[in-house]
């Protein structure tokens, strides 16, 4: 009986963890360039509502509709992120408040809800959804079957993305320059690396990935649009970037951990266990604070800290 619960939770962990991972991976790219993005929740919701709308509006085969919807979601979310980049990089505004403004603007009480209303998205179920795959027909293998071979297609995509992201960040020249921009924009600028370009592009990439995460919600988790359906997951994704020490692989692990907590909470609540649900809900947030304190101490800061220039607008010093 108990092992059944464990398997269900683990399997569901990958499911719930996937959109968190997408959003957090986007956050990793953005923060590695030195820009703090607190607008993730808003970008996810915009992506979600656009995906739901596209899915209802675009005619065609399932594959086509779903793929197109995902692309639309990523595109619109990246536009929102471009606005954030404009505020933070060009106007050198306070990045925290800028991100908050994006979340309030685009979030559950904002633009995403407005668009849902205008497009009448919530009326019907989303016709085309992202489906689960049965990889190599092994879905029914005991234990690892449902865990590894019967996941959603986007989950498999996320594994590939994680590998590509690690390679991109740590083994390519662009990744090196990106990390330099986030650690020491003065040094990068002096060498001739275009700080502005890197920040804009990676902020928009972060937005696109957040949009993808949001699309997962409206196309896979709950295939009917509900205002504010991400319920704060965007904030967890932001915390996850820190929790994963700005590395895609640890972020994936962290996303599944949080996903597991979410899944566990759902399972326990459905079995009528009250208190554990709340405690479990609180753990991610408490954990983040603990990790943050550890990361802030100078010793840790050198080894695994945040990109040194994170959150600070860059202004080239006039001679």
């Amino acid at each position: 009986m108990n092992s059944n619960l464990v398997i269900i939770v683990l399997t569901q962990a990958l499911f719930y963890g996937t959109p968190i991972f997408f959003a957090a991976l986007g956050g990793v790219f953005t923060e590695r360039s030195g820009v703090l993005n607190l607008g993730v929740e808003g970008m996810m919701l915009v992506g979600g509502v656009c995906a739901a709308w596209s899915s209802q509006v675009i005619q065609g085969s399932a594959w086509f509709t779903v793929s197109a919807s995902l692309i639309v979601a990523m595109f619109t979310a990246s536009l929102v992120a471009a606005v954030h980049a404009f505020l933070c990089v060009t106007l050198r505004a306070n990045q925290t408040v800028a991100g908050l403004s994006i979340t309030i603007f685009a979030g559950g009480f904002g633009l995403s809800s407005y668009l849902a209303n205008v497009w009448n998205v919530a009326e019907n179920q989303v016709p085309r959804q992202v489906r689960k795959l049965n990889v190599l027909g092994l879905a029914d293998t005991p234990i690892i079957g449902p865990l590894l071979f019967n996941q959603n297609i986007l989950t498999y995509c996320s594994w590939v993305m994680c590998i590509v992201a690690m390679w991109y960040l740590f083994r390519t020249k662009i990744g090196l320059s990106l990390r330099a921009v986030g650690e020491s924009p003065q040094t990068a600028d002096a060498i001739g690396i275009n700080v502005v370009k890197y920040r804009y592009l990676h902020t928009m990439l972060g937005g696109a990935l957040a949009g993808l995460g949001g699309a997962f919600y409206s196309l896979a988790i709950v295939p009917t649009w509900v205002d504010g359906m991400t319920k704060g997951v965007g904030w967890i994704a932001i915390a996850l970037v820190i929790f994963g020490f700005w590395r895609p692989d640890l972020t994936l692990f962290g996303a599944y951990l949080f996903g597991a907590l979410q899944a566990l909470g759902i399972q326990l609540k459905s079995r009528g266990v009250g208190i554990s649900g709340d405690l479990l809900d609180a753990i991610p947030f408490v954990m983040t604070i603990v990790v943050l304190v550890l990361v802030s101490t100078r010793l840790a800061h050198r080894r695994i800290g945040a990109p040194a220039a994170l959150g600070t607008p860059y202004e080239r010093e006039e001679r």
């Binding site: 083994r171 390519t172 020249k173 662009i174 090196l176 320059s177 990390r179 330099a180 650690e183 020491s184 003065q186 040094t187 990068a188 002096a190 060498i191 001739g192 690396i193 050198r302 080894r303 800290g305 040194a308 001679r319």
Partner: protein
């Protein structure tokens, strides 16, 4: 001459109010270590900035291997083969040595194979007698090792002329030896090294030729073999310069001590020793001048005395009170005034008004405040009074100090510090960057306050200023006080020698 790698002639560079380079002549040959010597303000940094493309000269000719060149940016200079190793490193701390070396280099391939880049870096380092671990992270390295990375960065780009700006300022003697070996390896390959320094003994041990700058001009270029530290010191500070010593009506009383340091030791921001057993005292009404080239511990000295930096051992006494370590409030309360080097960002809150800045240290007590509330009228009256008394030119007392000219900013600082009725004033570079009029005013004020019985510890890079104002002179070098002598009849050459690390015995 085919032998010449870099040729500079008639180089002029003007800034508002000062001619930094006034017709400089400078030649560097292939395969030589050429030292560029001079005091602060002599024009060394300006010249090196011109060579490396940061500044464009207003006049003059620069030739690289016989071909006239003109650089529009540091990158252009780097591409042409001139590289600079700065005093303040530009390294990405969490990256490895190899990553820092290849960063931004157009020839680095898209996919970075760390094994092959590590190998390349190690080989390059070995060629120049440097020991590095290419996979070590910068924050793990000592300062000397970090400097090696900076040098490697420039060598990796194929620099043929390297400029090192005060490279041994942050090195231990052993690290300095290692650096010199590297420089020798570079010149053995025919590369040229320009070595900017103020340390006479080092210059004598590592360079082939030495050019001395003073007042923006080239004093002369000599062969190391045919000169001595004494001669260099003389060239640096100049002989036969008339300066008038101030006549004191109330010369200070060294017996009545107002400030005394005993065995003070301290470390700098990087954790390295900056002050070593400093013991000195200032008497009532005495002006004690601390001479020395910037970077020998002066900043840390001022900060330790005033409580902004905790000392690691030793004690500071003001009047008859021993100050608690690292406590600014107590220092202020005991009668210590501080005119810091960094006026606008430390001594004043630049965005706040003149009147608020004047209240900056005294707002806590009556008459400027009572029951936790400020007394606005008292503050503005005090401010207006001081502004008039010190002739501060400002539209009104509500103007942010940031908008005032340099001289007036300093006057605001002075007026505030003097008005706290201090026992002793620590003044660091009080006339730096000020025009002639403001300089005169500040110096006069310092004399006046000393005449009134306040002790003054004057820390200044301007030797002339010290020689004309001080009653007693101490010299700082490498965090130590290397001399303590009455100003009357002192030999300027001697001071110059001491500032460069020489010793008194040599002069006899």
């Amino acid at each position: 001459m085919i032998d010449t790698a870099l040729h500079m002639s008639g180089v002029v560079k003007r800034f508002p109010g000062v001619v930094a380079n006034d017709g400089v002549e400078f030649d560097v040959r292939h395969g030589e270590v050429h030292a560029l010597l001079g005091e602060n303000g002599a024009g060394k940094s300006t010249l090196s900035n011109i060579i490396t493309g940061l500044y464009r000269p207003d006049d003059g000719v620069m030739k690289l291997d016989g071909v006239p060149v003109s650089f529009s940016s540091p990158r252009a200079a780097l591409d042409a083969g001139i590289g600079m190793v700065h005093q303040h490193f530009r390294l990405v701390q969490p990256f490895t040595v190899a990553e820092n070396v290849v960063l931004g280099n157009p020839e680095t391939p898209f996919v970075i194979d760390s094994r092959s880049t590590n190998k390349k870096v190690t080989e390059l380092a070995k060629r120049f007698d440097m020991a590095v671990d290419p996979s070590a992270r910068i924050w793990q390295l000592s300062v000397g090792e970090q400097q090696r990375v900076e040098i490697l960065k420039v060598l990796y780009r194929g620099a043929r002329v390297l400029i090192l700006d005060e490279p041994t300022a942050v090195l231990t003697p052993i690290e300095a030896e290692a650096l010199f070996r590297t420089l020798r390896a570079m010149t053995a390959e025919g590369r040229s090294v320009i070595f900017i320094s103020h340390k006479l003994d080092e210059v004598m041990s590592v360079s082939d030729r030495i050019t001395v700058l003073r007042g923006g001009r080239t004093v002369g270029t000599v062969d190391r073999k045919s000169t001595s530290t004494r001669e260099l010191a003389g060239m640096m500070v100049g002989r036969n310069i008339e300066f008038s010593r101030v006549v004191r009506h109330n010369p200070g009383n060294p017996q009545e001590t107002v400030l005394s340091l005993s065995g003070v030791c301290g470390i700098d921001d990087r954790g390295r020793p900056a002050l070593n057993q400093i013991s000195v005292s200032v008497g009532r009404g005495e002006i004690v001048g601390v001479a020395g080239v910037a970077g020998n511990g002066q900043r840390e000295l001022a900060e330790v005395i005033t409580g902004m930096r905790p000392a690691t051992s030793g004690s500071v006494t003001v009047g008859d009170k021993v100050l608690p370590n690292g406590n600014v409030r107590e220092a202020i309360k005991s009668g210590l005034a501080h005119i810091p080097e960094d006026r606008l960002h430390t001594g004043l809150a630049a965005g706040l008004s003149v009147e608020h800045n004047i209240a900056l240290k005294t707002y806590r007590t009556p008459p400027l405040s009572r029951f936790g509330m400020l007394r606005r009228k008292a503050i503005s009256e005090k401010a207006s009074g001081l502004v008039t008394q010190f002739d501060v030119k400002t539209p009104d007392i509500a103007t942010p100090v940031r908008l005032l000219s340099g001289g007036n900013v300093q006057k605001v600082l002075l007026s505030r510090e003097f008005s706290t009725d201090p026992l002793v004033i620590v003044a660091a570079s009080p006339t730096r960057g000020l025009d002639v009029g403001a300089t005169e005013t500040v110096r006069k004020r310092l004399i006046d306050v000393a005449e009134a019985g306040v002790g003054v510890l004057l820390i200044s890079e301007d030797l002339e200023e010290i020689m004309s104002l001080a009653d007693r002179i101490v010299v700082m070098y490498g965090g130590r006080l290397v001399a303590d002598m009455p100003a009357k009849g002192v030999n300027r050459e001697l001071i110059g020698l001491l500032m460069g690390g020489g010793t008194q015995e040599v002069v006899q």
